[in-house]
């Protein structure tokens, strides 16, 4: 089983296990079937493999000793470098070594290194506030290049760490990244400035949001569970956060904004440093975070204009939790 196919070793650092839980949601036939479709072997995965204790350590040793080819090293969770650079906040059980050590040992053996989730990519929630464990991503801490492996790190095939950012990432982002790597189909040019696969990072989470009509008219929800746009008052960062969240279903049809709460930009480095996630920070009544590529003055002018033109239906629904004003005339009835 180890000799053919695309070998993946999946490790967990300072993680919550949520990326694995998301991966297990993937595909109509289940994640394992999807892995098989692309010839991906999980050499070992802490949550799903049979091999335990010494058998698992033998896999690590074989990779480290060059006896077992490693095509992708996947890390879920941040690398905890503390206390004092020892990595002791995260020892790999049964090995007497820290995960930080193991990562430094195994990463140079891998064709590709993949960070699954915002923790492994940028540090994530363990790196929030005072960062008590000196948590870091594999190649970034927040927006700063470096991290556990260093700014100059390139895997054997010459790629920087591939960052499947998201907290948790969509199951599809994880699977499609692994599949593309297994098929040799993912090049450096397929990654954005933070190493995120462009197939999802070239979109904004705002694209396709069911609240887009409210956005156009700046018809805003004022309290949670109302139907209007969440940007003006309730903290939505989806016009600044990458992700195709509203174009593909989460859990069969949801998304953050569909669920009635703001996008908190979980795909962005530093999302964990936010404050008051479900409130919009404002200066002189204008949201501080505005759409990335729009001049502020334009945004303000357009907002004022579109507010003055808001249809009554849209305004009424924006602050209701159920549709109170349906489209007029039953919608689309043809004239005889």
């Amino acid at each position: 089983m180890h000799s053919s196919g695309f070998n993946v070793l999946w490790l967990q650092g300072g993680s919550c296990g949520g990326c694995t839980m998301a991966a297990l949601e993937h595909g109509a036939g289940g994640w394992f079937a999807a892995l098989e479709t692309f010839g991906i072997n999980l050499l070992w995965h802490p949550s799903v493999s049979e091999a335990t204790a010494g058998d698992a350590i033998a896999v690590f040793d074989d990779i480290a000793g060059g006896r077992l080819p490693l095509h992708a090293l996947v890390l879920e969770g941040s690398v905890l470098r503390g206390p004092n650079g020892t990595g002791r906040f995260n020892m790999v059980a049964g090995t007497g070594r820290s995960l930080f050590d193991w990562i430094k040992l195994l990463a140079p053996r891998a064709d590709y290194v993949v960070a699954v989730g915002s923790c492994a990519a940028f540090g994530g929630v363990p790196a929030a506030s005072t960062n008590p464990t000196d948590a870091s991503g594999l190649q970034y801490l927040d927006t700063e290049l470096g991290g556990a492996l260093g700014a100059g790190f390139r895997s054997r095939r010459g790629l920087p760490v591939v960052n499947v950012a998201g907290c948790a990432p969509h199951p599809g982002w994880i699977m499609e990244t692994l599949a593309a790597l297994a098929l040799g189909d993912l090049a450096a040019s397929d990654l954005d400035m933070y190493g995120r696969p462009k197939f999802y990072a070239d979109h904004l989470a705002h694209h396709g949001c069911a609240r887009n009509e409210f956005y156009e008219f700046k018809a805003s929800a004022e309290a949670l569970s109302e139907r209007g746009c969440l940007m003006e008052h309730l903290g939505c960062k989806a016009t600044q956060a990458v992700g195709d969240c509203n174009q593909r279903a989460w859990n069969g049809g949801g998304s953050c904004t569909h669920g009635g709460f703001a996008c908190i930009a979980c795909t962005s480095p530093g999302f964990e440093s936010g404050r008051n996630y479900l409130e919009t920070a404002k200066l002189a009544g204008i949201p501080v975070g505005l759409p990335l590529d729009m001049p502020k003055a334009w945004f303000v002018a357009l907002a004022a204009l579109s507010k003055s033109a808001t249809p009554r239906r849209v305004r009424a629904n924006a602050t209701a939790d159920h549709i109170v004003a349906p489209p007029a005339g039953g919608g689309g009835r043809r004239k005889p």
């Binding site: 949520g18 790999v92 669920g259 009635g260």
Partner: protein, 480 residues
């Protein structure tokens, strides 16, 4: 006497190391280590109060709804707020879906693959079990993973996404459900019920829930297909009721609270006398004598978390919670026996807490949850609100107590100027996998491992693996 270390301990949630002292092929003493510390309680200190709703769920990706519910309940306790009734029903539904998904994941992905291991090759049932439960490749995964994903579509509708949703708020849930969505939810729950009836039980849920004694269960099992019956057969063959025995009291905070009594009652039960006592959470203390933590007041409403990696007696990042001075076992077994489920009460009376009864309780609970979810979704009043607008109160303290799949979860919060001054978490596995306390009393797993026969296999002993996994541990929650 020799000492062995078991790890990495896979197919549990998170990182776990177990040290065993072995004499004559059996465990004489065990030491359980949580080798990962991320510092959530420290991270939350000083933050705006409501940020707990974003950060606390991220303690755990397998029970993020439970963490959300505990955080929301703690904040709600500070506000003195009543949530919208629909919000309570929606949150209970989502929580039950997560817990049921956890029970499935545990049984199929974490627990059963051990019986497909080579060393059981001589057993009469081996062929069938290996074909069905081998890790990653067994036939069951092609049925279970799609069923699990379908069940979690409840999250897409009620909570936007899973794991890590912000839908669970002190005032209720953030998405009001319409009639079409109620029908979609009922369809998902019906699919889940059908999966349980076809694949897990090979019988109607009504028939399963009517089982009320050990004899009834034995009669029901004979000749039945379905994975529950398969488990019962091998459990008898391997005498799984004789390993992993616990003698600690069982505890439940009560599960699925609403305006009326919780679906599953709260309480403490002494397994030796089978007497139920009322629960006094004021007697909960966390002992840190063997944790890599600085000592301080042990009551969660007063204590702080400060790591001390050099502490000489420390062997785990987990603190040791005690209820009135005693370790307690938590989980589905505790919930179902404290709620008085006749089958579980009878099994416990006969053989106590052990590997077999823990697993049975989990599957019976799953069947009960399928029923409950349907009732809650039908009870939504679709024209009424799902979320009340909370009146923020910036000072005060509150406790949020819920039951996660693995047992009792509590968040203790104290606010000052609408900032978090103190945040303390005691998770289910913190109870079950606690280290020793100051008087040297071992935690529930440490006790349950004593006497386990490891034979010639030592560290690879499959019996040890069964015992540990029977608790369905979640290590990322444990030391958080």
């Amino acid at each position: 006497m020799r000492r062995i270390t078991v790890g990495p301990f896979n197919r549990v949630e998170g990182d776990l190391e177990v040290k065993l002292d072995i004499d004559d092929g059996a465990v004489v003493s065990a030491q359980v280590t949580a080798p990962l510390y991320r510092g959530f309680e420290q991270i939350l200190e000083g933050r705006p109060a409501l940020d707990a709703l974003t950060l606390a769920p991220r303690i755990c990706g397998i029970c993020s709804v439970s963490q959300s519910m505990a955080a929301a309940a703690a904040l709600r306790a500070v506000e003195g707020l009543a949530p919208a009734e629909n919000g309570t029903l929606a949150a209970n539904t989502a929580h039950a879906a997560e817990n049921a998904a956890d029970h499935l994941t545990h049984f199929y992905i974490f627990f059963m693959p051990d019986f497909a291991r080579d060393l059981y090759r001589e057993r009469s049932w081996y062929g069938l079990i290996a074909e069905r439960f081998t890790a990653m490749h067994g036939a069951c995964v092609a049925e279970v993973l799609p069923a699990r994903a379908r069940l979690l579509e409840i999250m897409g509708i009620l909570a936007g996404k899973w794991p890590h949703s912000l839908a669970f708020q002190p005032g209720g849930t953030t998405r009001a459900i319409d009639l079409g969505e109620r029908m979609r939810l009922l369809a998902i729950i019906a699919d889940f019920r059908s999966f349980l009836e076809r694949v897990v039980f090979d019988d109607t849920l009504e028939a399963v829930l009517a089982l009320d004694s050990a004899e009834a269960l034995d009669r029901w099992r004979d000749g039945r297909g379905g994975d529950f019956a398969r488990f019962l057969t091998l459990a008898d063959d391997l005498a799984l009721d004789s390993i992993g025995r616990g003698s600690a009291p069982l505890m439940s905070y009560g599960a699925y609270h609403g305006n009326a009594a919780p679906l599953f009652a709260a309480g403490v039960l002494d397994v030796t006398t089978m007497m139920r006592e009322t629960l006094d959470i004021g007697t909960i203390v966390e002992d840190v004598s063997h944790a890599w933590m600085q000592s301080g007041p042990g009551a969660p409403a007063l204590s702080e978390t400060r790591p001390d990696p050099e502490k000489p007696d420390g062997y785990s990042w987990s603190k040791a919670p005690r209820l009135a001075g005693r370790p307690v076992e938590v989980g589905a077994l505790a919930r179902q026996v404290i709620d008085g489920h006749p089958l579980i009460v009878d099994l416990l009376r006969r053989t106590g807490a052990n590997v077999k009864t823990r697993v049975i309780a989990r599957l019976i609970e799953t069947a009960r949850l399928a029923d409950a979810m349907e009732t809650w979704v039908k009870a939504f009043r679709l024209r009424e609100p799902f979320c009340h607008r909370p009146a923020r109160r910036a000072e005060g303290a509150g406790v949020g107590l819920v039951e996660a799949a693995r047992g009792s979860l509590g968040h203790w919060i104290e606010l000052s100027g609408d900032r978090i001054r103190r945040y303390q978490i005691i998770a289910p596995t913190t109870w079950n996998f606690s280290p020793r306390d100051a008087s040297g009393v071992p935690g529930p797993l440490e006790q349950a491992l004593v006497g386990t026969s490891v034979g010639a296999e030592g560290a690879a002993s499959v019996a040890v693996q069964h015992v540990v996994r029977s608790f369905d541990p979640c290590m990322v929650c444990t030391a958080h």
